[in-house]
Amino acid sequence: MSFDLLATLAKTALWMALLLQVTPIMVWVERRGSAMIQDRLGPNRVGPFGLFQSLADAVKFLCKEDITPVEADKFMHGLAPVLALIPALTTFVVIPFGPDVTVLGHRVPLVVAGAETGVLLLLALASLGVYSLVMAGYSSNNKYSMLGAVRASAQLISYELALTLAVLAVLMPVGSFELNEVVRYQQGSFFGLLPRWNVIPQFIGFLVFVVAAFAETNRLPFDLPEAESELVAGYHTEYSSMKFALFFMGEYMGMATLSCLAATLYLGGWHLPGLSYSGPWWWVAAQGMGVLVAKATLFLFFFVWVRWTFPRFRFDQLMRLGWKVLLPLSILNLIAVAALTVAGVL
């Protein structure tokens, strides 16, 4: 077995281990956080501060009866929850978490796939998410599921445009699709005071990205595909047991990878002013991952905070926001960044 393959396996294992922790922790944060926001207690019986509540939930999910409704397409009904994991569990491969390090004389980049196609790959993999929702809704043989799936696909493809164009504006001054180049571009500072992070010159792009990220992960205020007050549970109305849990894992891990991406594109990724990344390779990797996770955690908390603060949109309002506000805004942002890039300002 070659050294490269071994290193790739180790990095993949590290990401997988982190991402699998995200769901139980985020479920706990969400339930306790919502309780805090709504002046309740939240789950506090299982373990200290209710920390083991998610584990108890997982066991219960495993033991529940798994129902596939009559006349449902059995194969697609089972395939959809598995596909829900794919966007979250594949996009991490292009997100860097540190500078190149030297391990036993081999040069190892701290990113799983240092391919030149980085961001293109990421967008392609992330857009696979819509298949799972459509399959789940179509195969369930249920009106609510079908409506949820149609809405979900319309919403995902509409906001994907704004997201794609916002990301493109970040790549333009960098001139590369590699996310490590994007991080290197953000090193240094403006006037010796502010870190040279993209969030400052590209604030409009950042806003578009964050709003589109909420819509891409089906989170409130954009959780129209689920909309429990009108569609019961949307595309996963007919799902129970562990299949239902897989949709939730997909959603939370998708939030986590999108947060990592947002941190990389707009908040400097693994780079932190004043942190020089010296020392043994494992210390560099730990520092880089720590910085990235800390920045992503900010976004994850923001996701929870917004969910329990804002009401839901109506569906035509959602589409209007996507097509009539975010899309023109992202195109204007793109033109402005292009002009500034050619003029040599950025």
């Binding site: 798994d66 089972g78 569990l89 009106k143 079908m146 493109l168 333009m172 562990m242 035509d316 890039t341």
Partner: protein
């Protein structure tokens, strides 16, 4: 290079394997009660009266067409962004023409009501 992409296939395989393992574990552990009523589609407590797969509003089809148009444009913009710095102002203006055409298209769809995801209401006249 193609060999740079094998970690993606690895991650893809792991993601599918994880899902399959979790689902089969649940299949072994979970109870099976069954029953005909349990297995009927959920209709808020009512028996299912008609088919579940109904007609979908044509407006969703319009959204899909709009998406295809604009997503292809976005795909054209990606290589442009990569070489913009070397290309300078001529390349910038060349693409502005393209984006201008794109915006004309957007304005047309907008004006025709293709972006309003609701049925067009007939204008109420004062006399009736």
């Amino acid at each position: 290079m193609p060999q740079d992409h094998y970690p993606v296939l690895l991650a893809l395989g792991l993601a599918i394997a994880l899902g399959v393992v979790i689902l089969s574990l649940s299949k072994f552990v979970s109870r099976r009660l069954g029953g005909r009523v349990d297995l009927t589609p959920y209709e808020s407590g009512m028996p299912l009266l008609d088919r579940s797969h109904k007609r979908i509003s044509v407006l969703f089809f319009l959204i899909a067409i709009d998406f295809v148009v604009f997503d292809v444009e976005a795909a054209f913009l990606y290589p442009w962004a990569l070489v913009l710095r070397e290309g300078g102002w001529p390349l910038f203006w060349a693409m502005m023409v393209f984006i201008g055409l794109l915006l004309v298209g957007l304005a047309y769809i907008w004006k025709k009501g293709g972006l309003d995801l609701r049925p067009a209401r007939p204008k109420r006249s004062l006399g009736s």
